[in-house]
C-alpha cells in the first residue's frame, strides 16, 4: 500500500437478483490525479461508486483510504471522512440560498441560533479560494446548473474532501462552463485531491484525466495512463465482446412506403431544433445521442406531450396535429416513456387497470358502461402474448419486476393498435432475459408493418436491432448512420457534432 494511493478499492463484488453487478472490481486513485472511470451504461460504474459511499452494501472486497480500511454506512459518513460525490442530478434544496445549501446539516451556531454572518463569511472564503463568483445569498433555483454544480464542488471542498467523485459533470454545461469546471478541477489536483471523473465524452477524458480505468459487465478491464491509450483502444475495451448473440435475428422488412414523416419540429420550451426525418413502414429507427441531446424531447414533441414551436408531422402522407397524448393515440401513435415509474406505470393500480387505460373506449357496452369481460380478455391477451410473469391480473403493477412492468405498458400500447411506436429507452433497468424478449417484440412489431422508433443510450442495442440510426446532438439531428457499416466511435463523433 503506497502512501501515494489515496483510494484503493480491492476485489469489490456485488450481486443483485439475476445479475452479478460487480465482480472483483479494483480501482486505485493516486493523490493529485484525475482518474477517469469509463464503461458502457450498465458496466457497473455507479454501482461501484454506490459501494464506496455505502449506498449499497458490498458483498465482498475492501476499501482503503490512505492505507486505512474504511466501510462507510452512508454518503454523509463518507463526506465527513473526506469522500464527496457531485451527483449528475444535483440534490439540492432549490428554494434555499447558496450558503444554506453549503452548510446544510452543520450550520454554525451562535448560542442557540444559526450564525448567518459566519456562514456568509466562510462561504465567500471558499468561493474566493476556488475563484468562483457566486452570491452566497442567492436563491439556488435562480442559478444556472453550472453554478449549482460549482456550489456542490465548493461544498465538497469545504468538507476538506480528499476524494471527489464527479458523475457526468459536463452533461448540461456549455463549452465555457466546461472550461471553468476544468480550471477548478486542475486547481484541486494541484492541492493533492484525488478526483474520480465519470464521463462518456472521449475528448474531455483525453483533456482532463491522468489515468483511466475501464469497466465492462461489472468487471475491471484495464487501468492505463491516459497518454498511453488511444480513443479507439478505449472504445474497444469498453465494448469488448462480440455482439452476435445478444440480439435476435432481424426478420422485419423495411418497406418503401413512408409511415411517418417529421418535418422541422422544434420544441417551444425544450432543447429541440428543426428535427426532420422519415420513418418507413416495417422499419426500426434508432435514435442515438448523449444525455441532453434531445432524444426524449423529439419523441415527446411528436407525441404532443411537450409543446411544439413549429414543424409538421405526417402519418401515411396525411398531416396530423398530435395536439396532446390523447389526440396522438387517436391518430395511431404510442409512446413508451423513459421514466417507467414516474410516467409509465399506475403503481398502485392492478395489471388490468394498467393494461386497459389507453384503450377504454374499446370495452364499452352501449357506449356507456365498461364490460369487465372484455377488459379481462384484453388483459389476458397482453399477459399471454407478452409473457408477463404475474400471479394474476389483480396484482398491483408495482409488485412486478421492471421487465414485467415494461411488458404490461407495451401491452397497454399494443391494445391501442398503433401504427407508430415511439419507444424511449425500452430496455432500461431490465434484466438480460427480458431485454431479449423486448428486442424480439420490437422486431415482430416492425414485421407487422408498424414503424418503430427506438431511443437508447446503449449503442450496442441500437446497432443490434435497428435498420437505421439517427444521431442527435444538442437538440439537433446530427446525421444518419447504417448500423451494418457504422460503429460506436462514429456514433459518438456525430453525437458531439453540435456540442
Amino acid at each position: 500500500m503506497t502512501k501515494n494511493h489515496l483510494l484503493e478499492m480491492v476485489g469489490i463484488s456485488k450481486y443483485f437478483p439475476g445479475v452479478q453487478a460487480l465482480d472483483e472490481v479494483k480501482l486505485t486513485v493516486k493523490a493529485g490525479t484525475i482518474h477517469a472511470l469509463m464503461g458502457e451504461n450498465g458496466a457497473g460504474k455507479s454501482t461501484l461508486m454506490k459501494c464506496l459511499f455505502g449506498t449499497y452494501k458490498k458483498d465482498s472486497g475492501e476499501i482503503f483510504i490512505e492505507g486505512e480500511s474504511v466501510d462507510f454506512g452512508n454518503a454523509k459518513e463518507a463526506l465527513e471522512n473526506g469522500v464527496a460525490m457531485v451527483q449528475q442530478e444535483l440534490n439540492q434544496a432549490l428554494t434555499r440560498t447558496v450558503k444554506d445549501n453549503l452548510w446544510l446539516g452543520r450550520y454554525p451556531l451562535k448560542g442557540p441560533f444559526v450564525d448567518e454572518r459566519k456562514m456568509a463569511k466562510e462561504t465567500d472564503e471558499i468561493f474566493n479560494n476556488l475563484n468562483i463568483s457566486i452570491d452566497a445569498n442567492a436563491i439556488m433555483s435562480t442559478l444556472p446548473v453550472s453554478q449549482r454544480q460549482m456550489v456542490e464542488i465548493a461544498k465538497a471542498v469545504s468538507y476538506n474532501s480528499k476524494i471527489i467523485v464527479l458523475d457526468e459533470p459536463t452533461s448540461s454545461l456549455s463549452e465555457n462552463e466546461v472550461e471553468h469546471l476544468f480550471r477548478i478541477l486542475r486547481d484541486l489536483r494541484e492541492r493533492g485531491v484525488g478526483i474520480i471523473y465519470i464521463s462518456h465524452k472521449m475528448d474531455e477524458i483525453r483533456e482532463i484525466s491522468d489515468e483511466i480505468t475501464i469497466m465492462r459487465d461489472g468487471q475491471w478491464i484495464a487501468t492505463e495512463a491516459t497518454q498511453d491509450i488511444s480513443i479507439d483502444e478505449i472504445i474497444r475495451l469498453m465494448v469488448g465482446r462480440e455482439l452476435t448473440h445478444r440480439f435476435p435475428d432481424k426478420t422485419n422488412v423495411v418497406k418503401d412506403d413512408v409511415m411517418m414523416s417529421v418535418k422541422n419540429i422544434s420544441g417551444r420550451y425544450t432543447n429541440l431544433h428543426d428535427a426532420s426525418f422519415d420513418l418507413h413502414a416495417g422499419e426500426i429507427l434508432g435514435v442515438a445521442g448523449l444525455d441532453g441531446a434531445g432524444r426524449t424531447e423529439l419523441l415527446e414533441n411528436i407525441f404532443g406531450e411537450m409543446t411544439r414551436k413549429g414543424g409538421q408531422i405526417f402519418l401515411e402522407g396525411q398531416e396530423v396535429q398530435n395536439k396532446n397524448p390523447k389526440d396522438s393515440i387517436k391518430n395511431g401513435f404510442a409512446l413508451l416513456t423513459e421514466e417507467r415509474r414516474a410516467t409509465g406505470i399506475l403503481g398502485i393500480r392492478d395489471i388490468l387497470d394498467n393494461t386497459v387505460i389507453s384503450s377504454l373506449k374499446r370495452y364499452l357496452n352501449f357506449n356507456l358502461f365498461l364490460d369487465d369481460k372484455k377488459m379481462l380478455e384484453a388483459t389476458e391477451w397482453a399477459i399471454d402474448s407478452l409473457d408477463v410473469r404475474t400471479p394474476s391480473h389483480k396484482t398491483q403493477i408495482r409488485a412486478l419486476s421492471g421487465g414485467n412492468q415494461q411488458k404490461v405498458i407495451i401491452g397497454r400500447w399494443l391494445l391501442t393498435q398503433p401504427k407508430v411506436l415511439l419507444l424511449d429507452e425500452p430496455t432500461r433497468g431490465i434484466d438480460v432475459g427480458a431485454k431479449y424478449q423486448i428486442y424480439e417484440l420490437i422486431i415482430e412489431l416492425a414485421s407487422e408493418g408498424k414503424g418503430v422508433v427506438v431511443v437508447s443510450s446503449e449503442m450496442p442495442e441500437l446497432l443490434g436491432i435497428c435498420d437505421r440510426i439517427l444521431v442527435m446532438s444538442n437538440g439537433r439531428v446530427a446525421g444518419e448512420l447504417d448500423p451494418k457499416t457504422t460503429n460506436q466511435e462514429e456514433i459518438l463523433k456525430l453525437a458531439e457534432k453540435y456540442l
Binding site: E305, I329, L335, T337, A342, T343, L346, I348, I357, L370
Partner: protein, 352 residues
Amino acid sequence: MSTEKVKKNSKWSSEQIKDFLINNALILIMLVLVIYVTATRPEFLKPTSLINLLSLTAAYLPVALGIAGCIVLTGTDLSAGRVVGITAVISASLLQDITAPGKMWPNLEPPPIALVLLISVLIGALIGAFNGFWVAKFKLHPFIVTLATQLIVYTFILLYMQAGESTGQAISSLTEDYREFVTGSVVGVPIGGGKTAPIPNYVWLALLLAGLMWLIWNKTTFGKNMFALGANEEAARVSGVNVFATTIIVFALAGAMYGYAGFIESARIASNTANTGANYELDAIAACVIGGVSFVGGIGSISGIVIGVLLLRLIFVALPMIGMDQNLQFAIKGGIILLACALDMRKYLEKK
C-alpha cells in the same frame, strides 16, 4: 411430503393471520363494539334504534361519496359543508309553505320538488366545477382552492339569508310535500306482528346514490380515468387521459353530491340557518379515510366509504347508549382516524 406440510402451514401462517387481522381491523373493531353494546343494552338491536343508525348514515353518506373522488385525486374538498349550506337554504327558501310566517319570498308559490332538487344539484355541481377549474387550470392544490371557495360561498349564504322578506331568521315551515318527500316513508320493513317499521325515503335515496356512484366509479371510462389520474397524473396523461376534463368532472360530481345533500338536509333538519352544513366535510373526509380511500391517491371503493360513514355514526349512536360521556366521542373519532390511516399506510408503503 415436507413441501405439502409447508404449504399447509403457510395457508394459516401466523404472518397471514396477522395480516388478515390488521387489514380488517376496523371491521373487527366495529363488530366488537356492536357485540359489546348489544350485550349491555339489548335494545340497541331494536328496529327503531337500527333505523336511527341507518338514517344517520344515509344522511352523511352523499357528502362522503362526493368528497371521496377528490381524495382519490390526492386532493380534498373543504367547501363541501358550505355547499351543503347554500343549497340547503336555497331549497328551504323555495319550498317554504305559503303560510309560513316571515317567508323569504312571500309571493312565491312553491315550485315542483323535483325542480328544486335539480336546482340544488346544479348549483352544487357548478361550485364544484369552479373548484375543479382552479385545480386543473392553475395546478393549485385543492386544499387551497376549496379553502378559498368555502369562504366565498359562506358570504353568498350570509347575503342570501338577508334576501327577500327574510329577517335573517332560520328558514323553516317547509311545505308538507317537501318534508314528506324526504323524511316520509314509502317503503318500510316488516318487523313481525304485522307491524312495519318506517324507513325514511332519504335512506332509499342514499342507497340509490351509492349504487349510482358505484357504477360511475367502476363501470365508466371516467371512473377508470379518475383512478389512473390519482395513481399517477403524468402516466395518465401520456396514456391519453384528459387530465383537465377529468379533474373538473370529479369536483363537479362532488359538488352535485353536496347539492343533493343540501336538498335532503334542509328538509331533514327543517330549520335552516347560515351554519347549516358547516364542517360536514370533516366528517366526510374522516369517513373516507376510515373506509380506505387513501390520501396516497388512486385508491378507494364505494363499499369502503359506506363502511366508514357507518362506523363513524355507530360511535356517535352506540357510545351514549353504553353510558359513555358524550364528550369522549370526539377523542374516539380522532383515535379511529389515526388508527385507520396508520393501518392504511401500512398497506401502501413500499417495503424496503
